[in-house]
């Protein structure tokens, strides 16, 4: 059977702007959360976010003038993560597909009223467009980044846009793994990018009741698996990877960051905003991934949880892990890297897979920070507050999306 490895990664996250810095900050348990400064959030019920700080958007605009039509931050994060893939060498992957996960189109409300002050009037808006003021786009289609990368770098492969909410990038990477293992391609650019840190995104999520509203908690606003957890924190960012068939990777003498050995996905088919309480949905996804990898529960020595910090998610994911791993569940370290970066929605899975690769490379287990008071219903080893200098060999990564979509990827340390 063909083996699939990850040879390069690019990361933009709230606590780091590249893979090396990301790894270092995960090990330190450094949080990237704080007040949003894209706009004045004083009247918003939720103001704590995982914002990417010190990101130089103008540098990308200067390099790629065509991006003048874009305001949507996620496109810039995704592009930067992609450019990181090219930093050390720019060869190959000209015929490979691009398979990216993201969530939804941002509605640029500022532009709507710039063209139509006081009261939004579509005729006034469209007439202004016709007078040549058509930049930036009010909404950027989700395939924009993939097509831009393809067009700018003469990549001829397909542009897959996975829009499976919070499971999107895990699905995109898992799907890419299957495509390479099946022999359809030798290499694929896969990953995820997202940002909902805009007034409508942050406001909409706070109305859903999914976010922690206690702004005084600052960077402790997200407390996965803690008894006092109140909700998640929205984050933003991107991670991109080059996935390659092993023999192909060895020929090009590239550093191998890890191997993907299994993937599974499922639907809860239960409710839109909360997972099935018995954990069967994400449990099914984990079971499929283990079967796909040809391994059993005893082989897994780390779980990177979806771990959003909402009441129901953390409880149900814990139940599901026990359901799949039985007694061994208590012996496997489980951590939520969202405790340091927030919930990156469509990019969450990709950035968290980058976290697993960092743990493989630098021999540590990232902690779940802000875990101070144990919840009796969340009674696994969540690696509270401090990283561990341990070598993990096989890691399982969970993602659970709005609408009940689940995805699980299993990664293995590559030993040569």
């Amino acid at each position: 059977m063909r083996r699939v490895v990850i040879t390069r990664t690019g990361v933009v996250s709230p606590n780091a702007l590249c893979f090396d810095e990301f790894s270092e900050n995960l090990r330190k348990g450094k949080s990237g959360l704080g007040d949003i400064d894209y706009f004045n959030p004083d009247t918003f019920p939720c103001r704590i976010v995982g914002q990417v700080k010190n990101f130089d958007k103008d540098r990308l605009r200067a390099k790629f003038p065509r991006l003048r039509c874009i305001e949507d931050n996620k496109v810039f994060f995704g592009l930067d993560a992609f450019l990181q893939l090219l930093e050390h060498r720019d060869d190959g992957f000209r015929e490979c597909p691009v398979n990216l996960g993201t969530s939804l189109e941002v509605f640029l409300i500022e532009k709507a009223f710039q063209f139509s002050p006081y009261t939004f009037d579509m005729d006034r808006y469209v007439t202004t467009l016709k007078n040549g003021n058509n930049e930036p786009y009010l909404q950027v289609p989700l395939d924009f980044l993939g097509n831009f990368i393809k067009d700018e770098f003469s990549i001829t492969g397909a542009n897959y846009v996975n829009c499976s909410a919070c499971a999107a990038s895990t699905q995109a990477i898992g799907h890419s793994f299957h495509m390479i293992r099946d022999g359809r391609y030798d290499e694929i650019i896969a990953g995820g990018f997202d940002s909902m840190l805009n007034p409508i995104g942050l406001g909409g999520f706070s109305r859903l009741g999914a976010l922690c509203m206690d702004n005084e908690l600052k960077e402790k606003a997200i407390r996965p698996f803690d008894l006092r957890r109140q909700g998640t924190v929205l984050g933003e960012g991107a991670a991109m990877f080059i996935l390659k068939e092993l023999e192909h990777a060895l020929k090009t003498d590239e550093t191998i960051l890890g191997e993907i050995i299994g993937y599974g996905a499922s639907f809860d088919a239960y409710k839109l905003s909360e997972p099935e309480s018995d954990g069967s949905g994400i449990g099914s996804s984990m079971g499929k991934a283990l079967k796909d990898a040809g391994i059993g529960p005893d082989d897994v020595d780390y779980i990177n949880a979806h771990g959003t910090g909402t009441l129901s998610n953390d409880k149900v994911e814990t139940i599901a892990i026990k359901r799949v791993f039985q007694d061994r569940a208590y012996k496997i370290p489980v951590s939520s890297t969202k405790s340091m970066i927030g919930h990156l929605i469509g990019a969450a899975g990709a950035v968290e897979i980058a976290a697993v690769l960092a743990m493989f490379r630098d021999n540590f287990i990232a902690p779940t920070i802000n875990l101070e008071k144990r919840d009796p219903e969340c009674d696994l080893d969540y690696v509270p507050n401090h990283s561990r200098n341990e070598k993990i060999n096989i890691a399982l990564k969970n993602s659970m999306g709005f609408g009940g979509q689940n995805a699980t990827i299993i990664l293995k340390r590559y030993e040569g």
Binding site: N40, T43, F44, P45, R66, P97, S103, L104, E105, I109, E110, A112, F113, Q114, P117, T119, F120, M122, D123, V126, L129, K130, Y137, L138, Q139, P141, L142, D143, F144, N147, K150, D151, T156, A158, N159, V161, N162, C163, S164, A165, Q171, H175, H178, D182, P199, G203, R207, S266, F267, D268, A269, Y270, K271, L272, S273, S284, F402, G403, G404, Q405
Partner: protein, 388 residues
């Protein structure tokens, strides 16, 4: 692709010409159409035509009024599409197949937010002095009026995800966005899923709703509406794809077999990639025929993605005219409008229905149909279906 000889065993199609494939095809062959004017207030777009799904009442399918509040029109169409497709295929979840064995791969459209729904909310967000958007005003005067369920109306994974809830499908899933070709990747990946033995059955399809004001604004901004009198539409279509072996085992009556799907990605700048290269389209058709071991003369009917009134279609039309000189050509968008993410699957459903019922088109017997999908968006397809 013939290792497991995938077959289509169920179809659904909900579009402006009907809620069932037989209605759609009957009216299509009569050259009927159902276009009307836009329903939102606009002088700029008042002469644009749209194609609504007529007499569609979601409550015929879903009784629970409460749950309908979080469903966009696209989601409603998708839920019905999946339910009708499952019923048509004769599959009862957890009897015919276990719920975890049924996969759902789908495509959804862009610009899902209907601005009419949030107009009043939006207009409470401007600064009193400048008239420009004010985040402070938004947080203070508008946010509390925002329906918490709005997010569920705009997330593009919702149409198939809600359909999974109502049909109790729990298997593998993939959801693609935003154009016709991106949606058809669902069918392409479904075939690979079956071919590589990870699934025996995949419900796959697409849904879209482009009849609202947001779609018009967005497409105007992209410059798409300047390409011609494109008729924006809405609808959904799903097909049940099974391995031939499994279909036979459960005594299903397949519509047709899928002889070949050829896919190419089109170069071209975003926001939508259109190739005007006849060579590019000709090569995809040639490859599809060659990979199937067929000659142009073996094709009885070509169903095109042609939008008729849109000048980007010249290349497609020229290639089809030059390649299939004696072939019957059907261009459904001429009658049902362009439902983007649903459009490709609507054409697949039409092809499947013609083949199962051995319907003559323009008095010609149809044994094999080639369907093109060259519409806006980077992903292009040529699909060949044949009678069993």
């Amino acid at each position: 692709m013939d290792r497991y000889n995938p077959v289509i065993t169920g179809i659904s199609s909900i579009c402006s010409l009907g809620h069932h494939p037989e209605d759609t095809l009957e009216r299509l062959l009569k050259n009927d159409s159902n276009f009307s004017k836009v329903q939102f207030k606009s002088k700029v777009f008042q002469d644009r035509r749209v194609a609504f799904v007529q007499d569609f009442n979601i409550r015929n399918y879903i009784k629970d009024r409460k749950t309908l509040r979080f469903m966009s029109k696209e989601t409603q169409l998708s839920v019905c599409g999946v339910l009708l497709c499952l019923a048509d295929s004769g599959i009862t979840v957890n009897e015919t197949y276990d719920e975890n064995e049924i996969a759902l791969f789908a495509g959804t459209g862009s610009s899902g937010m209907n601005l009419d729904d949030i107009e009043n909310f939006l207009n409470n967000t401007t600064d009193d002095n400048t008239g420009l958007f004010s985040p402070q005003k938004f947080g203070q005067d508008a946010l509390y009026k925002l329906n918490p369920l709005t997010s569920f109306k705009i997330l593009p994974n919702m149409p198939p995800a809600v359909a999974a809830i109502y049909s109790n499908i729990k298997g593998d899933n993939l959801i693609f966005n935003p154009w016709e070709g991106n949606a058809l990747l669902a069918l392409y990946e479904a075939l690979h899923e079956i071919y590589f033995g990870r699934a025996n059955i995949v419900i796959c399809g697409g849904s879209d709703c482009k009849t609202h004001s947001n779609a018009f604004i967005t497409f105007a901004e992209y410059g798409l509406l300047e390409k011609g009198d494109i008729v924006l539409s809405e609808g959904s279509a799903y097909v049940c794809v099974e391995s031939h072996e499994c279909a036979m085992k459960r005594n299903a009556a397949p519509y047709c077999s899928i002889r070949n799907i050829t896919h190419r990605s089109c170069p071209g700048p975003p926001p939508y990639s259109i190739s005007s290269s006849e060579k590019f389209y000709a090569e995809i058709i040639e490859k599809a025929l060659a990979d199937s071991g067929l000659e142009p003369g073996d094709i009885d009917l070509v169903i095109t993605s042609d939008d008729v009134n849109v000048n980007i279609d010249d290349a497609e039309n020229n290639v089809i005219r030059n390649t299939f000189d004696h072939c019957v050509v059907l261009s459904p968008k001429k009658n049902i409008g362009n439902a983007f993410a649903a459009a490709g699957f609507l054409n697949v459903a039409i092809a499947a229905y013609i083949l199962k019922h051995r319907l003559p088109v323009q008095e010609k017997k149809i044994h094999r149909i080639l369907v093109t999908s060259f519409s806006p968006g980077s992903e292009k397809f040529v699909m060949i279906f044949e009678e069993l």
